[in-house]
Amino acid sequence: MASSGSEGLYTLRHRPPSDKLVDQSFRFLVTALAALVAIILFAIFLVVTLDAREAIAKFGLGFLVNSTWNPSTENFGAFTAIYGTLLTSALALLLAIPLGVGTAIFLTENFIPSRYRTIIGNLVELLAAIPSVVLGLWAIFVLEPVLRPLLQLIHRLLGWIPFFSTMPTGPGVMPAVLILVIMVLPIITAISRDSLNQVPPDLRQAAYGVGATRWTSIFKVLLPAAISGIIGGVMLALGRALGETMAVTMIIGNSNNFTLSWFAPGNTISALLANQFGEADGLQVHALMYAALVLMIITFIVNVLAQWIVKRLSLKYS
């Protein structure tokens, strides 16, 4: 009865061809937009490599180990900048990892009420939002002058070590490292905190249950369980530190003379680009593009490695 009554009420509606056309073209449109990401990525590699071609042909791999950068004789080598990029990033991570992970542990343990922990966590994340050019301005006028007496003291006490062998008088590698620490700390802290929060509470309870103290369970259970996320965060921070431009450019001193000292002015690839691109022409542009290509390859490797590590190490609890 019901079926006979609805016979006239409902009829099968066939989709009009225009409907199908809209569907098809929408699908095509969004696929094309998604493909644009890949196209941009390839275009970046292509444009930089093509523009670097002349410099690659002229300097070859010697570009990477030559520490002269002389526009007047057109002799270019990026060793000072590459060394500076790797050194500042490595030192910054060395300082930021213990601080960041320590803060993340502080924010996930119940030392203080969770309300305050949330507030502190949000504040740390806000630090990540401050533009790097503002941090650079702050570094020039506040951090570096405040820090200088301390660095001078270190130079007087430990000046026989080559790393501290220059009298700090202004912009240099060390202030740049410290501003990098401030920039990567929010990343490491926020991601480590999230990964520690995602460890199931059963693991902690089980550790306490068999008699582990708080810190034994942190070191032996919680940190190993969260290690994939923490390393992922550290790699992200490394990528950021390698490519960071403005704050470092403003405080590192931009000297192309190679020196072992951390207190002397230095350079990084991104600082070199930021400083010289505007007024470069001829071979210098190609040499700068070559340097940009080197930076891109370094950060590409770091980022791919980060994604691989996170996939590889992530333990599944569910």
């Binding site: 937009l33 930089v48 343990e109 502190i120 401050i130 503002v134 506040v142 403005m246």
Partner: protein
């Protein structure tokens, strides 16, 4: 027979308990050390900014070197123009790409590749985006014969905003319950109508959050702009001409030996930080709205 070592009371004197206390103190110290620079930076920028900022700075051009006074009006306008241009380029592409990944790309190799590409693009240093647009648009004078321009700056920023927008759209759409799609398709709506009228509106909060965060990031970016949008001491002359932005103004004026320029650098920093923190609060508010 209870021996003294087997009692169940907490004994703070034990080596392991002392060690625990020490480590707890160290982790507290870490948190304090992390918070100190945060407060220093924000407090210093705000205090210094409030001390130097005057309302007429929003209506005046920067002074010639050595002159007094002046303002950041052209840079303020320029930041808004360049950011708006970058939104114009990146939001349609980002949302479209996100729709593809979430709605059409379930489990195929191409979408895995695009996701991987998005992550790689997110890790590309911001200065490389500038170098790329310089090589593509500025040096080749691709944009109707113009070299440095606001459009070039907007394109460079769009490259940086794109991955954030794609990722948040993708993740936001995935949170939409599958039943909604089935329901809509079940009553006869096409896939296009389902996506545009049902799925997208219910994911608008996470997508808006992502876009606001992306804008906040790009408003403060400097590196991609210094050799795409360049700088200009004059009022904006159109989107195909070099244009001043606040972030480049801070960079250019910070190293000048003139008091007036340095004052303007602090004022521009203050306005930037204020805007960006404001946008972050708005983003939090939007995502809070969604959770209710």
């Amino acid at each position: 027979m209870p021996s003294p070592s087997a009692d169940l009371f907490f004994r703070p004197g034990l080596l392991r308990n002392r060690g625990n206390q020490l480590l707890t103190i160290i982790s507290c110290l870490c948190a304090v050390i992390v918070l100190i620079p945060l407060f220093c930076v924000i407090a210093y920028v705000l205090i210094k900014g409030i001390a130097v900022i005057r309302p007429q700075m929003f209506f005046e051009l920067p002074p010639a070197p050595g002159m007094e006074g002046g303002g950041i009006a052209n840079a303020f306008l320029g930041t808004i123009i360049v950011t708006a241009l970058s939104c114009l380029f990146s939001i349609p592409v980002g949302i479209g790409g996100g729709i593809y990944l979430a709605e059409y790309g379930a489990g195929n190799r191409f979408s895995d590749f695009i996701r991987f590409g998005t992550n790689v693009l997110a890790g590309v240093p911001s200065i490389i985006a500038g170098v790329f647009i310089y090589g593509l648009v500025v040096a080749t004078r691709l944009l109707f014969g113009n070299s440095y321009s606001a459009v070039a700056g907007g394109l460079a920023l769009a490259v940086l905003m794109l991955p954030t927008i794609i990722k948040t759209t993708d993740e936001g759409l995935k949170l939409v319950p599958q039943e909604l799609r089935w329901g809509s398709l079940g009553v006869g709506a096409s896939k296009f109508v389902t996506t545009m009228k049902v799925v997208l509106p219910s994911a608008v909060a996470p997508i808006a959050t992502g876009i606001v965060l992306a804008i906040a990031r790009s408003a403060g970016e400097t590196a991609p702009l210094i050799f795409t949008a360049l700088f200009s001491p004059f009022w904006p002359e159109g989107i195909f001409k070099p244009i001043a932005t606040m972030s480049v103004l801070v960079f250019n004026f910070a190293i000048m030996p003139y008091e007036a320029q340095i004052t303007l650098a602090w004022a521009a920093s203050f306005v930037l930080v204020f805007m960006i923190l404001g946008m972050n609060l708005v983003a939090r508010w939007i995502s809070g709205l969604a959770k209710r």
